[in-house]
């Protein structure tokens, strides 16, 4: 009887353990309310901004290289 009670008590303690809240209402409602698109939009702004920066650096380099070739 004692072991039964202890076991039930310990099982109840383990229920408090969460490493993360994966299947929570937050993640589910993100999709349901369409808020995931906000995340996508933010990340796309950052990503496109960085990619455009890369393209401008590439173009500037091309111009400099052309100039240095004609100089020599």
């Amino acid at each position: 009887m004692k072991t039964m009670i202890t076991t039930v008590f310990l099982v109840m303690v383990t229920l408090q353990l969460f490493a993360q809240n994966g299947a929570s209402t937050v993640t589910d409602s993100f999709y349901a309310s369409g808020k995931i698109y906000v995340v996508v939009a933010c990340v796309m702004v950052i990503l496109l901004g960085l990619l455009i920066f890369l393209f401008t650096v590439d173009r500037r380099l091309k111009k400099l290289e052309k100039k240095s070739v004609t100089k020599n």
Binding site: A19, Q20, G22, A23, T27, I36, Y37, V39, V40, V43, M44, L47, L48, L51, L54, F55, V57, D58, L61, K62, L64, E65, S68, K71, N72
Partner: protein, 221 residues
């Protein structure tokens, strides 16, 4: 190096993999849940790093056989870019670990050896900094690079599989591809890898071209 098509391809693939990485459906696995989407970002960082370090060791070998200084510049700039991707990989891995393993750094085998592999390449940069004379610097760092690369491969791929690890694919855990990297994920994951590898290679070429221009202007002074 000067063509645009593969740069645009890399940009398109990264944009595609990011948008669909968030919007497409993913298998629902215990512990991971939605964080499995990090696969599309964390893993390509490491693949890009490995490709860049391979480029680097290739040019180090080429330098030792030809003595052509452009190979040395390519070797160092690809290491520079590779280190950036490696740091991003470790940071994204730690963030992911915080949510799945409970701590950002659990002194897991894979985490430790990934950090050590990066330190190997930091040492490459420190070694280069310590030598003033150009040709000697190039030669010694090329030899070091040829040692560092297989060590990195062993640290990242061999040793973690031989011991206990939390990381997927190591220490008795099934790799992601064994049973849960289903078609829905593969169709985004592979383009993501290719896209980020191309972007990484692009950044390396930009750094190298800058170096060449700097050198030219120094010679003209």
């Amino acid at each position: 190096m000067y063509k645009s098509w593969w740069k645009i391809l890399g940009a398109v693939l990264v944009v595609y993999s990011t948008i669909f990485g968030f919007l497409a459906s993913v298998p629902k696995l215990p512990i991971l849940y939605e964080s499995i989407r990090n696969l599309y970002f964390h893993v390509p960082m490491w693949f890009s790093m490995i490709v860049l370090f391979s480029v680097s060791v290739f040019h180090s070998i080429k330098y030792l056989s030809s003595g052509n200084q452009s190979h040395d510049l390519k070797a160092v700039e690809s290491v520079n870019t590779g280190i950036i991707f490696g740091i991003l990989g470790i940071i994204t891995g730690a963030i992911w670990a915080k949510f799945t393993w409970g701590q950002a750094w659990s002194f897991d085998v894979k985490q430790n050896f990934a950090a050590i592999a990066l330190l190997l390449y930091f040492a490459y940069l420190v070694l280069r900094n310590a030598i003033d004379e150009e040709q000697k610097r190039a030669k010694i760092s090329a030899i070091y690079n040829i040692f560092a690369f297989p060590m990195m491969v062993v640290l990242l791929f061999v040793l973690p599989r031989l011991s206990d690890s939390l990381h997927p694919g190591n220490g008795g855990n099934p790799g992601f591809n064994s049973y849960d990297l289903d078609q829905r994920m593969r169709v985004i994951f592979y383009p993501a890898c290719l896209g980020w590898i191309l972007i990484g290679y692009w950044i390396y070429t930009l750094l190298y071209r800058t170096r060449i221009l700097e050198q030219k202007s120094n010679n003209n002074l």
